[in-house]
Structures are given as C-alpha cells and as structure tokens.
C-alpha cells in the first residue's frame, strides 16, 4: 500500500510553510492545468534572462508568422522566466521555474504598465532519489502547471520542446489519486466557516451524461477522517479506501445509489479542488495552499516520473 507522511510530518515541509507568502501568492486561487514533462536537456538556471529574451522573440515570431523578429527589442509581449528556489519538495529537487507572459498595451508603453496574461511553472516536488540517477545535462522538472489561454501554452510549450528537447503531455488525475486528495485535504485544519467538501461523480454507460454531486460538511468529513486515520501525519491506501467506503455507504443508505460504481471526477474542498482532466485549483493560502500543491504534486509525481 502507498504510504505517505501527512502535512507537517517532516522538517522539509515545516520549512515550506515558512515560504515568503509574496513569492508564492501567484499560485493561489487560479486554475492550473497539469502537464507532465520529460527531462529538459541542457537547461541551466544561469541563463534564465537569455531564455526570457529568446522566448519573447519566439512568441512574437509565432504570432507574426513568416516575418523576421529581432531578438531583444521591445515587443508587445514581455516574458519573464524566473526561479522559485523555495518551491521544491526536497533538497534534491530542482528549484521550480516560473514563466510569465505580460502584455504591454501600445498606449501605455511609456508608463510600462504590464498585465499578466499567462503563467506557467515547472516544478519538481517528488523528493525521491530518482533524480540522483539523472545524467548530467538533464534537468528533471516533471510537472508543468499552466494558467491562461491554451494558445500561449502551445507557444511556450513548443519553445521548450524545441529548445530543451523535452515533451509535454496532459496529465490526467485518476479517481484513485482524487480520493487521496479528498482524504488529504479533509485532514487539514480549516475554519469552521469553510465551504463544504464536494465530490462529483459521473455515471458511466448512459446516453445523457449524468453527474452526481455529493456535498459533505467539512467538520463531518474531518470527524470521519479522524476516526479512520491511525497515525496522525501519515496516510495509507487502506485508510483512504475505508474513508471513501464510509462516504459511499452513507450515500447508499440515503439514496440507494452505489457511488463506487460511478467514476470520481472532481474533488473540491475549502483548501483546493482537483478535476480528473488534470486541473487543480488551490484556494487557501498561503501555507496550507502551498502544502496542498506540494502534496498534489507528490501524488502526481510518480505518474510524471514513470512517463519521463
């Protein structure tokens, strides 16, 4: 069975909670689409400024197909590539890389008013010795999260593909991982006023799509989880199964519907939400929010890893 430490279970995560809230505020309250990425070839933190220049020229070139674009001049879209050294799961992990696109409106060019139109970040939160075997010249940042128009994702992704010979694929979240997230997030302490936990199921084999929404009061869910969890700060697959089975049987008692036969497609709690299509959103922050992201990342990381 899979076994993992819970929130604040080890010093690294306590360190995470001391992150500069300002630096990570960007990731809260936004929908992130997940991609898995193969290791980047010859990526170097020392060249981030260069990457910004090249990527913005590439975006300009893509948008004005066919015309020559000079590297380094002022363009409509400014690119910022930066490192987030704090955002990683363990010391072995590579620091997260943030890519932001700003649009410069022609009118306000002088006032340098810039509007964030797209952002994406690469991160490695797996903290496994997997990376120790990473050969020289390769950088492992197996998770890529984007927020913004897909057309920009495509351009940025293509540039990374061409420049670092990596490839991207949408990362779906399996129902099993969703139930892990449900359990994990339930276990976190939140306000009494927190919104309900909601599980959405889709019923297979019907002509018309049918979704079942199952909302649970967060305190009830927490109480249930506390009875299931044996060791605080640690979660096992067995506990997750029991937790979900309890929720299912409760639902069955009332509605005579067996949710275990349906597919879990979305989990949302006061802390975060996740959809099986590979979209997550972190609502609370910053400490717990970041943890949620790291956690989600760690759950998904084995996927990204095996694909890498």
């Amino acid at each position: 069975a899979r076994r993992a430490g819970g929130p604040f279970a080890n010093p690294e995560e306590r360190k995470l909670s001391l992150l500069d809230p300002q630096r990570i505020a960007f990731l809260l309250r936004k929908q992130w689409t997940l991609y898995s990425v193969t290791p980047l070839y010859r990526f170097s933190n020392a060249h981030l400024r260069n990457y910004s220049r090249l990527l913005s020229a590439f975006i300009a070139a893509e948008r004005q197909k066919g015309w020559a674009v000079e590297v380094g001049v002022e363009l409509d879209i400014k690119v910022a590539v930066s490192s987030l050294p704090d955002l990683k799961g363990s010391d072995q992990d590579h620091a997260a890389i943030l890519v932001e696109l700003f649009s410069r409106s022609p009118a306000s060019q002088k006032t340098s008013e810039e509007k964030l139109i797209w952002s994406g970040w690469f991160c490695s939160v797996c903290g496994d010795d997997f990376f120790e075997n990473m050969p020289e010249d390769f950088t492992c940042l197996p998770l890529f999260l984007t927020n913004g128009a897909e057309s920009y994702t495509a351009i940025v992704g293509s540039w990374f593909q061409k420049t670092f010979d990596c490839c991207f694929h949408r990362l779906a979240i399996s129902p099993l991982n969703l139930s892990w997230m449900a359990a994990m997030w339930t276990g976190c302490k939140v306000d009494k006023t927190a919104s309900a936990m909601e599980l959405i199921f889709s019923v297979p084999g019907l002509l018309q799509p049918l979704d079942i929404s199952y909302a649970i009061h967060p305190e009830d869910a927490k109480a249930l989880w506390d009875t299931v969890q044996k060791t605080p700060g640690e979660i096992t697959q067995e506990e997750v199964d029991i937790f979900m089975d309890c929720l299912y049987s409760h639902f069955h008692r009332h509605f005579k519907i067996r949710l275990s036969a349906a597919k879990l497609v979305k989990v949302s709690t006061a802390i975060a939400s996740a959809h099986c299509d590979g979209i997550i959103k972190v609502s609370l922050g910053p400490e717990i929010g970041v943890l949620a992201v790291v956690w989600t990342g760690r759950l998904l990381c084995p996927l990204a890893e095996t694909q890498a």
């Binding site: 010859r42 260069n50 010979d165 490839c167 991207f168 949408r170």
Partner: protein, 737 residues
Amino acid sequence: MQRRQSSKTPKQPLQGHHKNQTDLSAWRKGGRIDPEKSIQNHQTPDRQKNDRQQDSLEQALCYFEKVQERVSLKKNSVLQKHLATVESVALQRGLPPEGFEVLLNVALSGKFGDTVNTCLLKSLVPASVIPESSIISSVSWLCVGKCSGNIQLLFLKWLITVFDFIDHKEQIHALYGFFFSFLQDEKMCPYVCHLLYLLTRKENGESGMQSHLQALLSLYKLFCPELVTITLPGKMKTYFKNSEGPWKAAISAIRRRSQGNSPLSQPLFLGTAQPQSRKRKWNTQLFIPASSANRNNLEQDRGKKHVDLYGTNKSFPVEQLQTFPQLLENIHRLELPSQMGSVLTNPLLLHYMNCIKDESVYLRLNYWMGQTLQEECTWCVADNQYEDEFKDFLETVYKTECFLQEGFSSCEEFLYKSLPLWDGFCCRSQILRLVSWIPLGSFSEMKSHLYDPLAQLFFTSSLYFKCSVLESLKELLQNWLNWHVIHLDSASDPQVCSLNTTLSGLVNVVAELIQFVGWISTVALRLENNPTFLLYFILDFYETVCDMYLRYSLPLLIMPPAGVFYPALLSMDSVSLNQLCYIMYRYRTNLVAAKENEQSKKKILQFKFSSQTYQEYNQYIIAMVGCLWTSTAFQKDIHPQGLHMDEELLKKTAMQEFKTSFNIVYHPAMMGYAVLFLQQAWPDDTTFNFSLIKGKKWNWYLEYLYAQGLKGLKLFIESSINRVSQASCSKAENTQA
C-alpha cells in the same frame, strides 16, 4: 506478418535486417517518394480513374512541351481539352515535379494569350515539391520579357506562395541580383520585395520608403546593422499584401487529402508548418518533429566550452544534410537536431547515431519516445481513436530499431507496461515486431512482463496469432544471438560486461526463451490439432535453435520437446517431415562439432553440453531411424513419450504390416511420393504394390525423393544413417553422436 521469407538454406547471421539499412535510395532525406506513385498506392479504389488522369496529364504535358506557334484558345479544342486536364488534375491531386518546367516555360514564353497563361499559372499547384531548375528557367523568361506585365506579376505571386515547396534554393539565391533589378518596376516592386525578403540571407546585406521596402530594409538592418543607417519604425505591421492568390487553398486541400492517406510518410520538408488538420488539444497530436538545428541553445551556451563550434561558425546545420556523401564530409562537425525524435524520419541521422557514442543522444530519444508511446497507445489511453497514426508510429519505431540493429529501452518499457492490457488485435503486427527487438533482460523480468501476458493471449487467440507470436519470438532469438556474435569480439568493452550479458547470463536467458517457446508450442499443437501451418512456424524456430552452436558460437543446444518432435515426425505433410529431418541433421552437425572441440581441447571450454542433450538427441534419432528407415519404431523407441508399443497391443489393431507403416514408403507424409514413383516405375501396374520398392528400387526411390526437393530428408539420411552397403536396402545402422 512476416518481414521476410524464411528459406530452407542455412542463413548467415545478420542477413535479414540489413534490408532496411542497405536501401541506398533511403539515404536521401525525407524520403521523397514520387508523389504520383504514392498517391496511387494509397487510393486503390480510385486507381483506375487515377491512371486515366495520369495518362491524359502526360498527354497534356507532352502537348505543351511540343507546341510551337501561337494558338488561339477559342478555335482550338485540343488546347481546350489539355488545359482542362491540367486544371482538374492540379486541383485534385496537385502536379508532379516534372510538370512545372514544361508549364512555366509555356506560360512565360508568350506563346499563348494571357487567358491561357493565367489559367496555366493558376494550375501550378504542387503535389510535393517544385524543382529548382524550373524556377531558374522561369526567371530567364522573365528577363527576356516575352510575357505581359500581368503574367509577370502573377508569376511572382505564385513564387511567393509556393516558396517553401521549392526543393533547393541555392541557385535561386544566386539570382538574387536579378530579382533586385526588378525592384525598379513600380508594379512588381512590392512582390519583388516580398520575394527578396524570403530570399535574403545575412550575406545579402547590401543595397523611397514604402512598407514593402521597409520590411526588406528591416531585414537588412537585422543582419547587417552597419549598412542600414536610417531608423525604421519599431512597430510591426503587415508589410506585404496577401499574395497567396488562388493557390493557397488548393495546396492545403491537396496536402490534407494526401495526409489523410498516410500521415507519417509525408515528406517533412515544410518543417514546423504542419497543418493542424484535426481539432485536438495542444500537443496531443502524434507528430515526429522535423530535424532542425538548435540555435537557441547555441546562443545560450556561447560562454561554455562546447560552443566553440558556434564561435568559429563551422558546424554543419542538420537542415542542410541531404545526401550520404554530405554526411561523410561533415560528420566531424555535424550539429544534432534540436529535437532528437526527428532522427526517426531521417535515415542520414540514423547513420550518424550509429557511429556516435553519446549517451545523451539515446536518452533524449528515449525520453521522447517513451512518453509518446505511452500517451498515444490506443489501448492504454481512453478515448484515443487515432489507431492508424499510432500504427504508423510503431512501424517507424520498428524500422528504426532494424536500422540501428538495437532495441530502444523506452520501447521495451512500453511493451512491458502495455502488453498486459493488450487485446492482441490492435496494431498486432507492429507490436509483435517490436517484441523481437526487446533487449536481453533478466528472466524474472521477461517472465512477468513478456512471457506471461504473451502466453495468455497466445492460448486464447487464433491460429494466425499463434503463428505471428512464434515468428516474432524467432526474430527475438535471432536478434539476441546476433547481438552475442557481434559482441563476442569486443568482449573487452566495459559496456558488455554488465551482469546479464555475461556468457552464462546470456545462455540462461536464451535457454529460458527456448523453453518457453517449446512449452507454448506443445500446448498450441494440442489445442489446434497439429495443423501444418503452425508446425511450420514452430519448426522454423527450431531451425535457429539447432544451429546456435556453430552459427552463433553459443555453447547451448536444446532439443525440441516431445510434444513438438512427435507431431512433426508423424505429420501428414512432407514439408514438416522434411523440415524435421533438416533440423535433426543440423543438431547432429552441431553436437558432433561440440564433441570434437571438447575432445581435442582446442579451446578451454567453459561450457559443456549436458549429457542429457546427447541422450535426448539419441532417443529422437532412434525413433526417427526406426520410423523412417528400419521399421522398428514400435520396438526400439525408448523415449518415455515415444512410439514404443507392445507387440500384443499392435496385433490387436488388426493392422497388417504395422511395422513398416512409418517408413519412407508408407509414412502418410510420403505415400503420395511413393504412389507417383510407382506410377513412373511400373506404368502398367495399377495395384500400387508398395512392397515392390526395395533393393535397387529403394535407392531409385530415394533418388526420386531427393529430386522432388526433399533436401532435408537427403541430408538426414546421408548423415545419420550409416548404410552398410548400397545394395542392401532395409538393414541400416543408425549412428549415434
């Protein structure tokens, strides 16, 4: 299913796979297949119609090539007909490369009026590429000025639209100055600017402020800032009017049509300009990147040591690599493509990969391939309906493996992950072919990841599937053995000495594969009731097994299980019997050679064949000689699963002459030959008295059988049966190795 025909004659190691490697024509990058042919191949239902069109197009081209004087369109029905043909073929399928020179010459020479010329120019839709030579001759027509201004304009617009379809551009670049001189013409100026914009390279940086001139100047300024002193407005705008004319839509329609037929065999000469014909999310389309050099990276690495290449400007860009001689000339300074996946469609780079020992090259390729295989696998990913694309991709991967004579680790991993989920139907031949390139691994891994899922599918699938699996396992065995032969000499190579590639490791893994095949073969023969077809594939596998010692220098011989040997020996078909005879002859040759080596102690042998192998061989040979020759099988066969039977029991069957019932005359597989022989030897005798075949006739009969092509039988009898005297027929001694 079969990659190549299996032959009865002994094969040399490595023989088969060279096919993909020695195809010289494949050395040209991008596989520029004749578009006419490839289109016809893909549209078999429309073939006849296409053939007719092809004929009339040829006639039309012929006409336009020969036409001498100026003809008017209205009065000439022949011209009208040919013009209509060119137009319709062009719009439906695009024109072949050889058509352009003819039609451009006519259109720009002023032989016809502008109506005809316009119509011809509008029909110049390429099916694949446009030869550079046709552009060169057009430019010379343009300089002569025989055609009207409108036609000149239309030609320039056309040239701009199809610029990317021109196969080479070196000579066109040489005409740079000619195009430059056209700038003086006011009407042509914008288009010439656009063309120069496309043509301009860094070395061209030398030369009223209209936007088209501005664009050209901005490019000059970009390349040679010191030559352009005026300031240009920094903002981007549309410099050139849309000059795509009537061609763009037709070109994309034709591309779409031919792309639908085979997505991967398309030449990738347009590089990044892959049309997004299907609405799929970003990056979810299976697509092998085109080879292109990675300039971004080079610029970024300028400070590092390996960038000297860039500094001295001597590296050879991968896009320019077109021929094998070029590869040889520039192999020391070739730049690798930015996306390693592109090597799959570039045979020249595969040659290069074969000679370099850079681990990162394989890693990059494997990362990409692993992810692509997993993401595109039609039975692992729900809602993935792009089976044909995936099939083509697997095919490409397989061909690359044959070319490199090496399996990819990403592909192996993919097979291990996906085989347990496979239905045995989807992409069957591709998957089974890929199985044959699985590298040598440890047995426990092979068993749980390969043998177990394969066995499950094998037992529950059709006869055809069973044969395909056996075929691919034979290829797998041969690939392993070839690998062993190649690495035998380079034993000092540290790479080779890894754990599972030591000789004893190899022997064990190979033995386990052979035992696995023996087991599934035995079960399959029972399940399917011994069909000849299946037996052929099984015996084909053992044809490799029986020769491992001599042909592949592997100290291992494993006899087929009784469940394979006896069905072959008692087969109703002479093909199987003959095959078995050949195999037993090779076993004998190998065992004798091994024994000789052992006795003479020429080499210090690490491995000796176990006495059990010799014992098994002897049991089989006794049974075989007893059956086919001495008619003593029922008494002498000592194999526990053999033919030994009690005399009493045999008598109860009330069969007469049961003793001889499996000799070369009475054996069900041979009786047909015996009948034909009797008919020839005693044309008047209609009683089919088989007992007549004895003594001298027995020898004649043997000669007759040999003449019928039973070469395996001949080798077997000549080697394994020690005939005391040529005259005596029945008593023969069997030799035991």
